[in-house]
Point group: C2
């Protein structure tokens, strides 16, 4: 980020804070959200769910922490070692425990007194769902939706680049034909949903932010095969538009990792789309102003029917 | 937990899973929630919020991760070192990153390749709020509410003892007279709210699960001064009733830690109450059965007005 772009990212954050939409809370990317921000977020999420429910989608909810093995089995630590948040905890006795407050009093790090647990922060809302599909799925496959807090270790001054944020995901499991048709249909529906809210959305072929030089090759393959699309919307001044919704076709990646089979014995395919709820809400405030009661009537009618 | 109690805790978990209320997800205490479980949870939460809104309470939302300094400044690591979940992440280069998948492939631990970050999992919904009050509060003090995912590192077979769960909190900041009157009033209102749902609730003086022998003394002081009350409800077979709501009077603890002042220059007092949303929902299912459409009409009328 250039100096000017960094300045305007900070200015936008300050503007959100001044309007009571965001609440400063110390570490970068871990701020609080005010009541009005949340009202819009809840309304936008409910709009997605109403559209998804028309398809007879199942709904489920997972905590912000998930089985560490999910990341281990899906190559997450190869693709994104820098983004992972692992949970460490203290397992010693009373004498050993006293070392922690002592370190804190001395202003010294205390992370080495902890050990890694069996859970990690969830980096993508759909991750904990796949292991629950182990075995043979019905012939029609499965369609589920979930809202989850996800975590990415990328401290930033940009209000849009959060470490903890909420994603509303829709997931499809099934044969490749059904899964691709679903992905294509939701790519259109997701794009239409965002433009119907008056947002200057653009659909793009995209790649994940894979780590390092080896990651560049992974990203090129992803672009070439058009496995990922994003809907981007202008939010930050002096910066390219921000991804607010992303569509991923995983092919057999999760099916193979968690032994998910089709009735004919083939490994199941999966795809998902995720709406970044905070980012979309920020786009709405940037586009229509800080006071939702003054937003255009058609936008209000969609959000608060 | 005795063998028999452990068996019945597992049986209850299995019963919840069989009814589709909970979804197994690997690590103890990190399971998913089904759609019907969430419908009841949302309805119960909305009921609390409707009651609280009558008081003109402010609403805010914080992520599941908070500033590590909040735990460091409030003595959390002295009282509950064993319950803390700290976030560690990877900060090395590409060569160093390759060690992680190698360790995973070899079935070896990889936590020592990470370093502690500036955030920790939030152990209590109200914690991130206190630092935002730094400075002088209005003469009438403040009343806020928030729902948050919280974390306690206590893996257990009991479905009621979760590692990640949601708490709806109400918080009061002000002078000691106002804060104590608020605590007493909400102790009655919170208890009444739970009994009005047909739950066999009991109000008890309580203590926090402080760590170790030194912790025993802290707990005794807390009991003696009646700083903590809990509403307990029978959920687990063969076990004492489970705390579903707790009321805490912190005196000046948070005011002093975060320089929160009254207009007269005194350090502000604080109190909070937290409803354990999942536990209360489990109590509702245990009390009224697995199908909310068959619950008593007065209970349904409160939850779905």
């Amino acid at each position: 980020m250039t100096g000017m772009a960094a300045e305007s990212a900070v200015a936008l954050y300050d503007e959100f804070v001044k309007a009571g939409l965001l609440i400063p809370a110390g570490p970068l990317g871990a701020f609080g959200r005010g009541a009005v921000f949340e009202q819009v977020l809840d309304a936008f999420d409910a709009l997605i769910v109403r559209r998804a429910k028309a398809d007879g989608v199942e709904s489920m909810t997972f905590p912000p922490v998930i089985d560490r093995q999910i990341l281990e089995r899906t190559g997450y630590l190869e693709g994104f070692p820098d983004l992972c948040g692992a949970i460490h905890s203290f397992v010693g006795n009373e004498r050993e425990a006293r070392a922690i407050p002592k370190r804190i009093a001395d202003g010294e790090p205390w992370g080495d007194l902890l050990v890694q647990t069996d859970v990690v922060l969830n980096p993508a809302a759909c991750y904990p769902f796949y292991p629950t599909c182990r075995g043979t799925v019905p012939a029609a496959g499965r369609q589920v939706t979930m809202l989850a807090w996800v975590y990415r270790q990328e401290p930033s001054l940009e209000p849009t680049r959060m470490r903890a944020f909420r994603v509303r995901e829709l997931v499809r499991v099934g044969n490749p034909t059904d899964v691709l048709a679903w992905r294509d249909s939701w790519r259109d529906r997701g794009f239409e949903l965002l433009t119907s809210l008056g947002l200057a959305a653009t659909l793009e072929v995209a790649a994940d932010p894979f780590f390092g030089r080896a990651g560049k090759m992974l990203a090129e393959g992803q672009l070439e095969q058009k496995l990922k699309f994003e809907v981007v919307i202008p939010i930050l001044p002096d910066r390219p538009p921000t991804a607010c919704c992303s569509f991923n076709y995983h092919q057999q990646k999760f099916g193979a990792a968690f032994d998910i089979l089709l009735p004919n014995g083939d490994t199941a395919h999966t795809a998902c789309l995720g709406f970044g709820l905070e980012r979309t809400v920020m786009a709405l405030f940037r586009t229509h102003g800080a006071d939702p009661s003054q937003w255009p009537a058609p936008v209000r009618a969609l959000l608060w029917p």
